[in-house]
Amino acid sequence: MELLQRFLKGEKPAIARVITKIENGTDPKLLEDIFPHTGKAYYIGITGPPGAGKSSLVNAIVPKLLENNKKVGIIAVDPTSPFSGGALLGDRIRMNDLALNENVFIRSMATRGSLGGLATKTKDVALVLDAADMDYILIETVGVGQVELDIAQVCDTTVVVLVPESGDAIQAMKAGILEVADILVVNKGDRTGADRLILEMKFAFELRVHNTGWHYPILKTTAIENIGIDELVSTIKSHREYLEKSGELEIGRKKKLVIRVNELIEERIKTHLHDYVIDQKQLKKMIDKAYDRKITPHYITDEIAKKIF
């Protein structure tokens, strides 16, 4: 198979094409072919509200990750317009410094209907970059302004980026933030309010301990001036070391596989139900009845369930 060979040789057009096929779901076998080559990369997630500086941070930390001839794959997710199904993907603008680097591969993805911070296929696309011999994979979430849980289900280290302007929102999101974050970053350190936010966060988070036993570091950065970047990168690296030494990396990755399998089962069941179990014509009739308040949605569900159980 020619594409796969070129892919395994690391040719960028081939990597790009494999991603497209995985993203479009046009070649399910491909994932099987590449899966044995995955598991080597370290996954880093960058999440946070829109405009927090996620892309700018990626642009700033990647040069550090590239040291010692390492390779970095970047996935930047932007929202699909619910009205047209189209998308405007602009994260590359911030990453122009990296565009021509041999050891960097950047791919923009549209959410295509997924409601979380990632596209449904982002996890699989990350596997593609993993198989393509990347040492690090960086995933930037959409940034919908809420906690995006799905990112932590893919990444080994998740960085939550906040900015002075997002101060108020933090209280509301507190619990959720701790669920996804391994490292907390206050970006736009040059803006007034940054230090106050750090203090507030220290107050709220510092005594908390992650269920892996890890203490949440709280860092300040100014992405556009490259300030605080060294520390962020070394903190990511020490988190990795911590996970590796404590065995939490393996535990975490196995957990992620369980989650993935569960997701796939759900997906499979749903498609199966839709395509084979539910008679759409009959369903439509029942819906009409439910609309006229003659039967209940629960009754319809029971009728369908009878076919399975």
């Binding site: 057009p13 602009g90 021509l100 791919r107």
Partner: protein
Amino acid sequence: MEKKIRILIGKPGLDGHDRGAKVIAAALRDAGFEVIYTGLHQLSESIVEAAIQEDVDIIGLSILSGAHMTIFPKIIDLLKQKNAEHIIVIGGGIIPEEDIKKLIQMGVKRIFTPGAPTNEIVDYINSIIH
């Protein structure tokens, strides 16, 4: 999942007039395409590299600075060098008729001149991709 048409909209060179490029980008999004926008002041090399990594079907370049006879051939050339000739190149801008003829001969698929309605561009893209 169905295949989505992916298009890179690029502004090579130094002119900052991105009004047209942005209007087109928004219109293409509204027509259901995935549009990768690379921003202003891009080297031809960066545009081609981005197009390859994003596996786009089309590169659309907006050039209003008069540098079209330098930039289009360079892009076409780089695509050839990198085995990415399958990516279609189209363009828009203030480009005189006789230059358009030359560019088409060099391999640019289509040039839209100012005033072209966005739906004409959308229809054109649908017709060449499907």
